[in-house]
């Protein structure tokens, strides 16, 4: 590994920033150029990321890059570092953006110039958050990412979003600033009140991963929002939340007494999973299902990461999150097609089959979708130290049964088997021409889940 290899990390951050500046100068009438440049930048960014991954896995050493000036806070410097976890998170981020820009080719023209500029800025900020080794810098860049995301919500998320966006921005600011402030406390205070301070420090990660559970107003924000907004949440907020979770856990590992965390983690995970399953059952909008399923598995992800008795399950957790993000992106895309079909009272069996396929990805079955990664950590999930094994297994069985019920119910809720081939429009709209891409994407998702889990099995825990 040479110094130029480490500079690739900086390139991952710089490319989107300069592209955003360049794109912002393009005239409003030339949206074709904007789309082409944006997709080219995403492709080039992926190429650099894969190059970094190749170096990472071939040399088995982390890539690091350091800025020798203090950034923001006196003795913190900008320190970028790419390990396996960061690589997987960035890959998950890219696949979520892939579903947005490559499957929906007219999104740039529909949303306008500012949308593309902010997407590129979000990409730079999210990359900085994931790669940064300094916790304070990660939290600050994550906060800026949320601000930009909320700006997009307010601008493109539909009407009546102003209050939800305002309250959300203040909520995230409060959580992030208290987390940074807690890091400044002297060690003597941590020795006395470490239990409470640890959860305050963790709050930025938990809120991002379990937003509907931690922030009730978020339902208003995502309600009637377009799929674009939800996919952006999946692409940028979830990976940054996961990165913060790992970063906070590693920074504060000295203050994480083993006997303290398990009960809280277990209760948090049970409650989040149960709430998410109920949400899936009661949600009538097919566009929100993907998000609720993702939150369900996020709770399990948090359980894997935070449980101090199972340090080795971090790799299983990150692979599960990766599979969850790409499955969620696919489900959201199909959900949008289904919503459009229902809105126009157009019945297309292909979309129905796609919907079934997307829901099937979420069944906790080995070898299929999320199940390929989940089954790798199943034993860790069932062996809790708080409850007796029988009680723990019972709880999880109930929750998974609830999930399966919710998935089956959602399939039949949105599909009307009595009507076949009936169309009020009398022609085949252009949107349905992308169904072939959707099937190709489904195949890619299945393959990725299998490949990533196979790699995990081959290399071991």
């Amino acid at each position: 590994m040479t110094m130029s290899d480490n500079n690739l990390l900086l390139v991952l951050v710089i490319i989107p920033i300069f592209s955003a500046i360049f794109v912002s100068r393009i005239p409003h009438f030339d949206m074709t150029s904007v789309r082409q440049i944006t997709t080219t930048v995403l492709t080039v960014w992926l190429a650099f990321l894969l190059k970094c991954g190749h170096i990472l896995f071939s040399s088995e050493q982390r890539l690091t890059w350091r800025l020798n000036y203090s950034l923001w806070l006196d003795d913190n410097v900008l320190d970028l570092s790419l390990g396996q976890i960061q690589f997987v998170l960035l890959l998950a981020l890219w696949f979520a953006l892939f579903s947005l820009f490559f499957l929906n080719k007219r999104i740039t023209e529909n949303k306008g110039l500012s949308f593309s500029v902010i997407i590129l800025l979000l990409l730079a900020l999210a990359t900085l958050t994931i790669l940064s080794s300094t916790l304070a810098v990660s939290i600050i860049t994550a906060n800026l990412s949320v601000c930009l995301f909320l700006f997009l919500c307010a601008r493109h998320g539909g009407s009546e979003k102003g209050n939800a966006v305002l309250v959300s921005s203040l909520f995230f600011l409060t959580v992030d600033i208290f987390s940074i402030a807690v890091l400044f406390l002297p060690k003597s205070v941590w020795l006395v009140a470490g239990y409470y301070l640890y959860w305050i420090a963790l709050a930025p990660a938990l809120t991002r991963l379990l937003i509907p559970f931690f922030a009730p107003f978020s339902r208003t924000m995502f309600e009637n929002s377009s799929i674009t907004i939800i996919i952006l949440y999946v692409a940028f907020i979830i990976p940054t939340g996961a990165a913060l979770l790992f970063s906070i856990k590693n920074t504060l590992h000295l203050y994480q007494p083993a006997f303290i965390c398990s009960p809280v983690v277990t209760i948090l995970v049970f409650a989040s999973s149960f709430f998410s399953a109920l949400w899936i059952i009661t949600e009538k909008d097919c566009r929100q299902i993907g998000l609720s399923l993702l939150v369900f598995y996020n709770a399990i992800f948090i359980n894997f990461v935070l449980d101090p008795h199972h340090d080795a399950s971090s790799r299983a957790a990150i692979l599960m999150l990766f599979c969850a993000v790409i499955c969620a992106s696919f489900t959201l895309y199909v959900g949008q097609l289904l919503f459009w079909e229902l809105e126009h009272e157009l019945i297309d069996t292909t979309i129905n089959h796609l919907w079934l396929a997307s829901l099937a990805l979420w069944f906790p079955l080995p070898g299929l979708g999320i199940g390929t990664a989940l089954w790798l950590g199943y034993m860790d999930l069932f062996s809790s130290t708080l409850l007796s094994p029988a009680l723990n297994i019972s709880f999880w069985l109930i929750i998974f049964l609830l999930l399966i019920t919710a998935l089956i119910q959602n399939y039949f809720r949105h599909i009307d088997p009595q009507t076949t081939g009936r169309s009020l429009l009398g022609y085949r709209p252009r949107k349905l021409a992308s169904l072939q891409n959707a099937w190709a994407s489904f195949a890619v998702v299945l393959l990725l889940c299998l490949v990533s889990s196979t790699y995990f099995l081959n290399t071991g825990a």
């Binding site: 000036y69 923001w72 806070l73 006196d74 102003g162 305002l166 203040l170 600011l173 400044f184 002297p186």
Partner: protein, 484 residues
């Protein structure tokens, strides 16, 4: 004999001569044969050049510590530089605002120069008597400028309010000076602080010192003493608002520093004084934020956010139990924030052309960000720096204060600091939602040509750059001559 440091003498004489020249040119301008020389653009140019010259000289002038009344130290040099910077912003705002520069009154420039002169002198003082004289003259000038302000209907009312407050301030200062003479035979801060240690004069010394503290806090716009200043900042033209902010925030911050220094040298850093200052610091961090949320007009909301800065400086100085802990650096950063963010906000308020019958409320600004996204974003960055949004210089200053507060076990003050960021961000976030998320009701157009928006954009860039790389700016400053 008053022994004035040479750099102070040079800057004062320069400004005084420039003011006299402005008046002479104004008088000559009406005479036949001299109209080309005495026109207003020339007067404005003379004013601009003299202020710029004083600013550059102050950065490179040697420091002087030996004087009992004046202190031309590193802090004074920066205070003078940033006062001149704000005065230049004043001039720019004045020129942007006037419809025809040739119709302007030349006396305005002379008064601005004299006001700047008084501010520069205040930045170097360690004596309450001379401070009182400077404050009274400066207040007179501000009153005159407000009363003659042709562009604002409330000018006379504002001048009357300032007169009332100034009268109270001067009466109280006279009382404080009397007590100072009684207890120490002198009006210097060091002598008064030392008098508290003398058993014979302790009571009188404490009375005098308490009076002076309240008055300086009042001059510095610390809550709850800022009410009349709110009306001045909101009720006058933009260039006068900038001049007033320059005259109260910068000298006030450095006078506070000198008083705390005098207290520490005399060994009087008692918990009572720290608690007293801490109480006002907490009030100043919270009250303006709450008031800002409640405002109808955006200009008044912005003015209340200006009032967060005195509380921030008070908290910063208290956070350093030992003044040698990074105070010079933090004072420099505080001055950058005040001198760049406040003019940036005022420039942004004057950017949009809005129908005259509107009061510039929240709804009136709806959708303006969609028409001018970059400039409105720059304006929001300046507002964000005032309240401490992450990524800006204001956030860096607050986080540095927070570290020191926790290190010195001031946990309540630390929590208040965090709450002030959140409360202050609420109106700015709400404004951002109105600017970018709502549909516009009016056809917005820019009041000024695009080239003038360079200043607004520059303010935003400086605030972001110094917020991200503050140490880099500090290293750049270190290469200046006569820099400690």
């Amino acid at each position: 004999m008053l022994n004035v440091p040479t750099p102070l003498l040079v800057t004062s004489v320069t400004l005084l001569i420039s003011a006299v020249l402005c008046l002479l040119l104004e008088g000559a301008g009406v005479q036949e044969g001299f109209k080309k020389i005495g026109n207003k653009p020339h007067i404005a140019l003379l004013t601009f050049l003299s202020i710029a010259g004083v600013a550059l000289y102050s950065l490179s002038a040697p420091v002087s510590f030996s004087n009992p009344i004046f202190a031309f130290d590193q802090a004074a040099k920066w205070a003078i530089f940033f006062s001149c910077l704000m005065a230049l912003f004043c001039l720019i705002l004045s020129m942007l605002q006037s419809r025809d520069l040739r119709q302007e009154r030349g006396e305005k420039y002379a008064l601005l120069l004299v006001a700047l002169l008084l501010v520069i002198v205040m930045c170097t003082l360690k004596d309450i008597l001379y401070f009182t004289i400077c404050v009274s003259l400066w207040t007179l000038i501000m009153m005159a400028l407000a009363a003659f302000d042709n562009y604002h209907q409330l000018g006379s009312e504002v001048a009357a309010k300032i007169f009332i407050k100034a009268s109270f301030l001067l009466l109280s200062m006279a009382t404080a000076i009397a007590f100072s003479y009684l207890c120490s035979g002198s009006t210097q801060f060091a002598s008064i602080a030392n008098a508290i240690n003398d058993p014979l004069n302790a009571t009188l010394g404490k009375i005098a010192w308490s009076f002076i503290w309240i008055l300086v806090l009042s001059f510095f716009d610390v809550a709850p003493f800022f009410w009349f200043h709110i009306d001045y900042l909101d009720g006058t033209s933009s260039y006068l608002s900038t001049a007033f902010a320059m005259g109260s925030f910068i000298p006030g911050s450095i006078i506070l520093l000198r008083m705390i220094e005098a207290n520490q040298i005399a060994g009087n850093a008692s918990p009572i004084l720290l608690n007293f200052l801490g109480f006002f610091a907490m009030l100043s961090m919270l009250i303006p934020g709450f008031m800002a949320i409640d405002q109808r007009r955006i200009a008044r909301m912005a003015v209340y956010l200006f009032m967060l800065q005195p509380g921030l400086w008070l908290t910063l100085t208290l956070a350093n139990a030992n003044l040698s802990q990074a105070t010079p650096f933090m004072f420099f950063m505080f001055l950058v924030n005040v001198a760049v963010a406040i003019p940036g906000v005022i420039l942004g308020l004057n950017f949009l052309k809005i129908p005259a019958h509107l009061e510039m409320t929240w709804e009136d600004y709806a959708g303006a960000g969609r028409k001018h996204p970059f400039i409105i974003t720059a304006w929001l960055i300046s507002l964000s720096s005032l309240v401490g949004v992450p990524g800006t210089l204001g956030f860096y200053i607050r986080m540095s204060a927070l570290k020191n507060l926790f290190l010195n076990q001031y946990f309540l003050s630390g929590i208040i600091m965090i709450l002030s960021i959140i409360i202050g961000t609420a109106p700015v976030a709400r404004l951002a939602v109105f600017l970018f998320a709502k549909s516009p009701h009016y056809e917005f157009s820019s009041l000024h040509p695009t080239k003038h928006t360079v200043f607004l954009f520059s303010c935003a860039v400086v605030l972001i750059a110094t917020g991200m790389l503050p140490q880099l700016l500090w290293q750049l400053i270190a290469i200046l001559p006569n820099h400690d």
